[in-house]
Subunit: 170 residues, 2 copies
């Protein structure tokens, strides 16, 4: 498998701008979320729950891209803060339904618009209306391409020519 000169590869040259745009955005937004006493992971869970009747842990784990084990800890902390509650699922006694409490719902409804309003000028300064439409479309295609499970499995099955290099500690 011949490896091209990646510096001249127009597709790969998109990698850095994508990372940089996201990280610049993330850094600003994260600072704001932290000032609310939440972590990004906790905010994610609340945002996913908002507008639903409740989700199971399995559904939440899938949406927030974490494992069940990690999620348990995040939910514990949110429950301690009184922002979510765990309940039964009728029909499956193994499952747990996670819902926002009234306090959690109010928090999101107050916080998200403020957060959105906080972020808006950054986007408005960067792009005009029609450019936003273009950007959205292109970003969605990038997302869909990386979320395509067929491509992932076929590409992912060619590992490690570099495995001659040992990065382990011992």
């Amino acid at each position: 498998m011949a490896i091209r000169d990646y510096k001249d590869d127009s597709f790969l040259s998109l990698l850095r701008p994508l990372v940089e745009a996201y990280l610049a955005f993330y850094r600003v937004g994260n600072r704001h979320i932290q000032s609310l006493g939440l972590t990004p992971g906790q905010f994610d869970v609340i945002a996913e729950l908002e507008g639903t009747e409740g989700l199971t842990c399995a559904e939440l784990a899938e949406h927030t891209l974490t494992t069940k084990g990690t999620l348990t800890g995040v939910l514990d902390r949110l429950e301690l803060k009184g922002l979510i509650q765990r309940g039964d699922v009728s029909g499956d006694r193994r499952a747990t339904k996670v819902q926002l409490t009234p306090k959690g719902a109010i928090l999101f409804q107050q916080v998200f618009p403020v957060h959105a309003e906080y972020m808006r000028p950054f986007f408005a300064q960067a792009l005009n209306e029609s450019e936003v439409q273009v950007a959205k479309q292109l970003l969605r295609r990038i997302r869909d391409s990386f979320n395509d499970p067929i491509r992932q499995s076929s590409i992912g099955s060619q590992p490690t020519e570099y495995s001659s290099i040992d990065t382990s500690t011992t």
Copy 2:
């Protein structure tokens, strides 16, 4: 400050596609980096050091968006793996110059093209050449807007109408 209906705000509707595109990309790339025995933070440091004569800890911390304290731990682990080395800076005996070892340089030179080649089809599947050029330009403008320190300080100085909600544990 009147808060618009954010669901109809075309600027804010860009927020979700940006996050989703990045996360989809990140998830795929991260899985690949992990298979090399590195964490994202460690890979970042190596990528920053590549092609330099060495950077100080302060420079590295700035580039990788972490604090000095966090960086020390990351560097310790990379040093254990023999991928970086710490040396003196002539002229300032407080400072430390961090460099890739030959092993680290070889790792990057082997790993990055493979990593890039691994990622390329995902982008190529999503966009054609001219769309890539457009996307790059728009993403750079988003990045620059969020990195603009003037805007950040003026915007950031309007905090917490939502601070009536207490998210603390005790």
